[in-house]
Amino acid sequence: MKGSIYKVLGLLLVAYSLTYGLLTKVPDLPIIEESIRNLFYHVSMWFAMVAMMAASFWNAIRFLGTEDLAKDRRSISLAEMGMFFSFMGLFTGMVWAKFTWGAWWTNDPKLNGTAITILIYLAYFVLRNSMDDARKKARISAVYNIFAFVMMIVFIGILPRMTDSLHPGNGGNPGFNSYDLDNGLRMVFYPAVIGWILVGTWIASLRYRLKALQE
């Protein structure tokens, strides 16, 4: 019972953001128009992805400290979930980019960051599949995971600050400025982020238990 509270909460928040996100009043801006509702679906994917990757990174560090294989299973499950969110964020973003900027793909620092992130974590999965011995696999892939996460943060968190971007808050802060986000949007956006993180944690824990049963 106690363990299911966060699952129910996550589902409720996701359901709320999916439905209320379509119903709520949004600011009427040129070009972006009603597509601003995609904020709830697209941007929350990235927040959820970074949360999953950070949790995976943390479990990789703890594995190196404890040599406990359960930590390694958590790490890979969370990374897989983060990968799912990054693909979802990519697709929702491409649709949005086509509508507002007129192209599916643009040479934008954030899009490059996404492409690199996906390549890094695909390489991580390839690395894991190239080894058999469980303990060695866990140790080596934890090393790569830690290094890769730091590089990803550099690429999506530091380099975009130094170049111009089509995204809001360009050339400076890669996040939102205080006036970019209207209070009505916040009421849906933050619950969406929290909801997706909770649901992501839930699915990752299911995958973790599945892996534990398989071994």
């Binding site: 690199i116 890094i120 390489a123 390839v126 690395l127 190239s130 060695k136 080596i140 730091v150 590089m151």
Partner: protein, 217 residues
């Protein structure tokens, strides 16, 4: 310290004894540079010059790193474990690779100057950018080739692991070098240079901390 120097001397001796590797790398640089010359003519624009230079250095260094731990395989692995611990090994290996990558990038610069002319206006800034870039490259490639070596897997695994991780270093370095070409002064490029130095130091430290977990059986 003494152990690191002894390891370094050993790595250099190994390289000299297997000089065919050095020659094949030189031939790669010459061949690719001439291929670009044949295809593009002698006057690429400044940004194309910079891009091509870094593509050549990029693939050269990935190729170089694929055999970075060649002599530490099999029973040699255990031999190295007895003469030096992991921390000495990673420092010596990184220093050796930094030297090698600097040689590689300077040779590419020289070759490009011969074929396409030298558009660099601020030579000091370009040189510093090249050195810092080579350092970042060698740190990333030393760690990833160590990982690939420990999996005893195929040679392409090292490249798969390294290529996405090299992009941040590559992007910063080529931005600095482009600024050096158009003649930005050192003080104006200090922001980019500082970021690259911080990135090099950060990943160097991270590789140093992580390598002992890799270098055991």
């Amino acid at each position: 310290m003494q152990k690191i120097v002894r390891l370094l001397v050993r790595f250099f001796r190994q390289e000299v004894r297997n000089s065919n590797v050095l020659f094949s790398l030189g031939l790669y640089l010459l061949g690719v540079s001439y291929l670009i010359y044949l295809l593009s003519g002698s006057t690429p624009s400044d940004s194309a010059w910079n891009t091509l230079l870094w593509v050549v250095v990029f693939f050269g260094s990935v190729q170089l790193s694929s055999r970075s731990f060649e002599f530490e395989s099999g029973s040699y692995f255990y031999y190295y474990q007895t003469i030096a611990n992991a921390k000495h090994t990673i420092i010596a290996k990184m220093l050796f690779n930094v030297a090698y990558m600097m040689l590689l990038s300077l040779a590419t610069w020289a070759l490009f100057s011969v074929f396409f002319g030298n558009p660099v206006y601020n030579t000091a800034l370009f040189f510093i950018g090249l050195i810092l870039g080579a350092t970042g490259f060698s740190v990333v490639l030393t760690l990833t080739s160590g990982i690939a070596h420990r999996t005893k897997g195929n040679a392409t695994l090292g490249a798969i692991l390294a290529i996405p991780l090299l992009f941040p270093v590559l992007q910063l370095t080529s931005a600095i070098n482009l600024q050096a070409i158009v003649g930005v002064t050192l003080t104006d490029a200090a922001n980019l240079l500082g970021t690259l130095v911080a990135l090099d130091m950060g990943i160097g430290l991270l590789a140093y901390l992580l390598f002992p977990y890799l270098w055991q059986d």
